[in-house]
C-alpha cells in the first residue's frame, strides 16, 4: 500500500510534464471506474449540496436583484434593494446591533476561553471533570430552552436584577431594556466559551516543555513566559479561534429570536442582522430585499475574513521548519 502511494505520487507529475495533451484521452478503464465509484458514493452529499445549498444560493442571488413577495413572479429591479438598504433606518440599526455584538462578545469569549484553558492546562486533581463542566454550556448553549432560561434569568425581579440591586446599582431586568438586552445575548455567547477553550487546550499541549524550562533557567517570570513563549506558540490556534468565532458571531439568530420573544426587541435592541433578514423575508414578504441582505452579509463576512488573513502575517507564528 505504502509503495503504491509513493509510486503514484512520484509518477504523476512526471507523466503530466511528459504528455500533457494525452492525459484527457488516457485510457485507464480501472481508474475511471474507480472515480465513478467515488462519485457514486459521494452522490447523496453532492445531490444534497446541489439541491439544498448551491441551488438556493443561486436563486437567492437572482432574487437579490428583484422585487419578490414569494407569490408573484420576481420583478427585476437592478440594485434597488441594495440602495434601499442604506436608506433604511432599521437596516442601519441591525448593522449597528450586530457589529456591537461581534466586537464586544467575541474578544470577551476568547479571553475567557484562553484564561480558563491556561488554568486547566496544568495537571491537577479532578481536571477532567472541570474540563467537561466548562465545556458543557457549549453543547447546550445553542438550544431554544437555554434561550428561555436566559430570558427568565434577566427579567425584572429575577436573579440578575436582584443581585445587581443587592450590589448597589439598579438597572432592572435586562430583557425589557432596549439598552441592556444586547448584553444579555453577549453574556449568553460568552458563557459558551467551552468550544474555543478545548481548542486552546489542545494548542497549549503542543508547546514543547523544553522552551519553558530554558526560559525559567534564564530567569523569565510567568508573565514573560506567557508573552514570549505561550502566545507565539499558540498563535495559529488563536488565529483559528478568532476566525471561527467572528464568523460565527455574525450569524447570531436563535438566541436573539428566543430572548426577545420573536420580536427582536425591545425597541429593536436585539435586532441582529439575520433577525431583520428573517422579518423582511418571512413576515413582511420582502424576499428580494431579504436575499439582498443575505448577500450583503456574505460580502461583509468575506471582507472581515480577508482582513484577518491579511493580518496574520503580522502576528501569527508558524513553525517554519519543514519536517
Amino acid at each position: 500500500m505504502g509503495r503504491a502511494v509513493t509510486l503514484v505520487k512520484d509518477s504523476a507529475p512526471a507523466a503530466r510534464k511528459a504528455r500533457p495533451a494525452a492525459r484527457a484521452t488516457e485510457g485507464r478503464p480501472g481508474r475511471r471506474r474507480e472515480n465513478l465509484a467515488g462519485y457514486l458514493f459521494m452522490s447523496p452529499w453532492i445531490a444534497g449540496f446541489l439541491l439544498l445549498t448551491a441551488g438556493p444560493m443561486v436563486a437567492s442571488l437572482y432574487f437579490a436583484f428583484t422585487d419578490y413577495n414569494l407569490f408573484t413572479t420576481p420583478k427585476w429591479v437592478g440594485f434597488d434593494n441594495f440602495t434601499k438598504m442604506f436608506d433604511d433606518p432599521r437596516w442601519q440599526k441591525s448593522v449597528e446591533v450586530t457589529a456591537k455584538y461581534v466586537i464586544i462578545g467575541t474578544p470577551l469569549k476568547l479571553l475567557l476561553a484562553l484564561g480558563v484553558a491556561l488554568l486547566l492546562a496544568q495537571s491537577r486533581r479532578g481536571q477532567a471533570f472541570y474540563r467537561a463542566a466548562f465545556y458543557a454550556p457549549s453543547l447546550i448553549g445553542a438550544s431554544v430552552s437555554v434561550g428561555f432560561v436566559w430570558r427568565s434569568l434577566f427579567s425584572d425581579g429575577a436573579v440578575v436584577d436582584r443581585t445587581q440591586t443587592f450590589l448597589g446599582f439598579h438597572v432592572g431586568g435586562w430583557v425589557g431594556s432596549a439598552d441592556w438586552v444586547l448584553y444579555c445575548l453577549v453574556a449568553l455567547t460568552v458563557w459558551q466559551f467551552g468550544a474555543p477553550m478545548v481548542i486552546f487546550l489542545a494548542g497549549l499541549k503542543q508547546v514543547p516543555k523544553e522552551l519553558y524550562e530554558a526560559a525559567e533557567m534564564d530567569g523569565a517570570g510567568p508573565l514573560r513566559r506567557f508573552w514570549n513563549i505561550t502566545l507565539p506558540m499558540i498563535s495559529p490556534v488563536l488565529f483559528f479561534n478568532v476566525l471561527l468565532e467572528t464568523i460565527h458571531s455574525f450569524q447570531i439568530f436563535g438566541s436573539a429570536y428566543v430572548v426577545s420573544n420573536t420580536y427582536c426587541g425591545p425597541a429593536d435592541g436585539t435586532l441582529v442582522y439575520t433577525c431583520y433578514l428573517y422579518q423582511q423575508g418571512f413576515k413582511n414578504s420582502q424576499m428580494g430585499f431579504a436575499s439582498a441582505m443575505a448577500w450583503m452579509l456574505l460580502l461583509a463576512v468575506a471582507l472581515v475574513t480577508a482582513v484577518l488573513f491579511w493580518s496574520q502575517k503580522k502576528w501569527v507564528h508558524y513553525e517554519e521548519d519543514a519536517r
Binding site: 471506474r33 465509484a37 407569490f71 408573484t72 425584572d156 420573536t262 413576515k283
Partner: protein, 428 residues
C-alpha cells in the same frame, strides 16, 4: 491497484448505483400527494393557530365529523399565531397550503390578492354550505369584493378589561357612554390611589386606534391604504408617550418583560383593551378578578365597535372543494361542536351553536352578556376593509408604539417610519 478487477468491487459498485437510484425514487415518491386512496376515502388538511387547549377541543370536534363523514379523514396541524402565519405563507408560496384553515380579517385581502383563498359562493349555491342562521350578519366579515372568503366560527368585539379589585380600591366605576376624558381621569385616580398604572399601553393597539378614528369619522384602514394622516397619529402617540411618563400607563419595558403574560394579569396595570373573548386568559393567568367595561367615546355615545371574527377559509388549490366545504359547514352549524368549543374562538357565530352552548363559568357568561349589551345598545357598525399587508402594518404599529413609549424614538420619527413601513407593506 487500479487495474484489479475483483468481483467484490463490482458488487459494491452495483450496490452504490442501486442505492442511489433508490434514493432518487424515494425522493420522487415522497413528494406525491397522499389524498385519494383506493376505497374512495379523502384526506383533507386542517390547520389553525391557538393554544393546546383549543387543539384538544378541536380534535374532539373532528372525531364527531369523521364519524358523520366516514369517507373524509382530517389531518391536523396547529401553531401559535405568529408561527402559524409564517408557516402558512411558506406553504402557500410553495403551492401547498392546507385545504382548510383558521383565518382572520387582516389576511383576507392579502391572500385573496395572491389567489390562495377559495370563493365559497359557488359551494353555497351547490348546497354544500349554508349561510343561514348566522347571528348579526357576521358573515359580512368574510366578504371581500362580493366573494365569500371566510366563514365565521365565532364573533368578538374590542372591549376594555379591568382589574375589578384595583378599580374598586380606587373607587372608580366605568360606565356606558363615558368619554376619553373620563377614562384618563379614572386612570389617574387609579394610579394616585393604588400606585398601579391605570392602563397597559392603549396607544400601541391598532384595533383600539381604529375605534377612536371611527368615533371621529375616519378609520384605520381605507380600501387600499391608511385612513388617517401623520398629524392624527402624531397626536395619538404624543398623548400616549406623555401618559407613560406620567405613570398612568404601564412602562413598555415592563410590558415587554411580562410577555407572554399580559401586564394586566401580572398586576402591572389596571386595565387593558383587547378582544372580549380573550378575557378568559386573564383569569387563568392572574390572581385578581377581571371584568368587561364599555369602550370610552368621543361624543358620549358612539364607541366605533363592530363585530370581528375568526373564520374558516379554504384553499383555492384544494382538490376536494366539496369535502372541505362540508367540513366547514359541519364546524359552524353542528350544535355538538358548539357545545365542545364554547367561546374559545369568540361568541359562537350561528344560532344553532349559540343556543346549544350554555356557559357555566362566570367569565364566559359575562362575555356573552357584554356582546348582547353592545349589540342592543346599537353601537355596532360594520367592519372596515383590511387591505393586503394589514398584518405587517399591525405589527409595525405595535413595535413603533413600544419604541417611542420607551423613549427610544421621537414621536415624529416613529410616525414617519410607520408610514414608510405601511407603504411598503401595502405594496408587497
Amino acid at each position: 491497484m487500479g487495474t484489479s478487477r475483483n468481483p467484490e468491487r463490482r458488487t459494491i459498485l452495483k450496490a452504490a448505483g442501486a442505492s442511489a437510484a433508490a434514493l432518487g425514487l424515494a425522493a420522487t415518491t415522497g413528494c406525491g400527494g397522499e389524498s385519494g386512496s383506493g376505497n374512495g376515502a379523502v384526506t383533507i388538511r386542517y390547520s389553525w393557530w391557538g393554544a393546546e387547549e383549543r387543539a384538544k377541543k378541536i380534535n374532539r370536534t373532528i372525531a364527531l365529523f369523521e364519524k358523520k363523514y366516514p369517507k373524509i379523514k382530517v389531518k391536523t396541524d396547529f401553531q401559535t399565531y405568529q408561527s402559524f402565519w409564517e408557516k402558512f405563507q411558506t406553504q402557500a408560496a410553495g403551492g401547498n397550503p392546507p385545504d382548510v384553515f383558521q383565518n382572520a380579517v387582516a389576511f383576507l385581502r392579502k391572500y385573496d390578492k395572491r389567489r390562495i383563498l377559495l370563493d365559497l359562493k359557488s359551494q353555497v349555491q351547490a348546497g354544500n354550505l349554508s349561510l343561514d342562521h348566522f347571528r348579526a350578519d357576521v358573515t359580512k366579515v368574510g366578504e371581500v369584493d362580493g366573494k365569500q372568503l371566510g366563514i365565521p366560527v365565532g364573533s368578538n368585539t374590542m372591549a376594555l378589561v379591568v382589574d375589578k379589585k384595583v378599580f374598586q380600591k380606587a373607587g372608580v366605576e366605568p360606565h356606558a357612554g363615558w368619554t376619553w376624558d373620563d377614562y384618563f381621569k379614572a386612570l389617574k385616580t387609579v394610579h394616585d390611589r393604588t400606585k398601579v398604572p391605570g392602563d397597559t399601553g392603549y396607544f400601541t393597539i391598532m384595533y383600539l386606534y381604529d375605534l377612536y378614528l371611527r368615533q371621529n369619522g375616519k378609520a384605520f384602514f381605507a380600501k387600499d391604504g391608511l385612513g388617517f394622516d401623520q398629524a392624527d397619529l402624531t397626536e395619538w402617540w404624543t398623548d400616549g408617550y406623555n401618559r407613560v411618563k406620567a405613570g398612568i400607563v404601564t412602562d413598555p419595558k415592563v410590558v415587554q418583560q411580562d410577555m407572554p403574560k399580559s401586564s394586566l394579569s401580572a398586576g402591572h396595570g389596571a386595565s387593558e383593551f383587547t378582544w372580549d373573548n380573550f378575557t378568559v386568559r386573564y383569569s387563568a393567568e392572574g390572581d385578581s378578578t377581571y371584568g368587561l367595561a364599555p369602550i370610552p367615546t368621543t361624543d358620549g355615545k358612539h364607541t366605533g365597535q363592530y363585530l370581528a371574527s375568526l373564520m374558516l377559509s379554504a384553499s383555492a388549490r384544494t382538490s376536494h372543494p366539496k369535502e372541505v366545504t362540508q367540513f366547514i359547514d359541519f364546524m359552524v352549524h353542528d350544535p355538538e361542536v358548539g357545545k365542545i368549543m364554547g367561546y374559545d374562538r369568540g361568541i359562537l357565530a350561528t344560532t344553532e351553536q349559540y343556543a346549544a352552548y350554555q356557559p357555566a363559568d362566570a367569565v364566559s357568561k359575562e362575555i356573552a352578556q357584554y356582546e348582547e349589551d353592545t349589540a342592543k345598545s346599537g353601537v355596532l357598525g360594520t367592519i372596515t376593509p383590511h387591505p393586503s399587508g394589514a398584518d405587517t402594518v399591525e405589527a409595525a404599529f405595535l413595535r413603533l408604539g413600544g419604541d417611542l413609549g420607551q423613549g427610544k424614538t421621537k414621536v415624529t420619527d416613529a410616525v414617519k417610519q410607520f408610514f414608510t413601513e405601511a407603504e411598503a407593506a401595502f405594496q408587497a
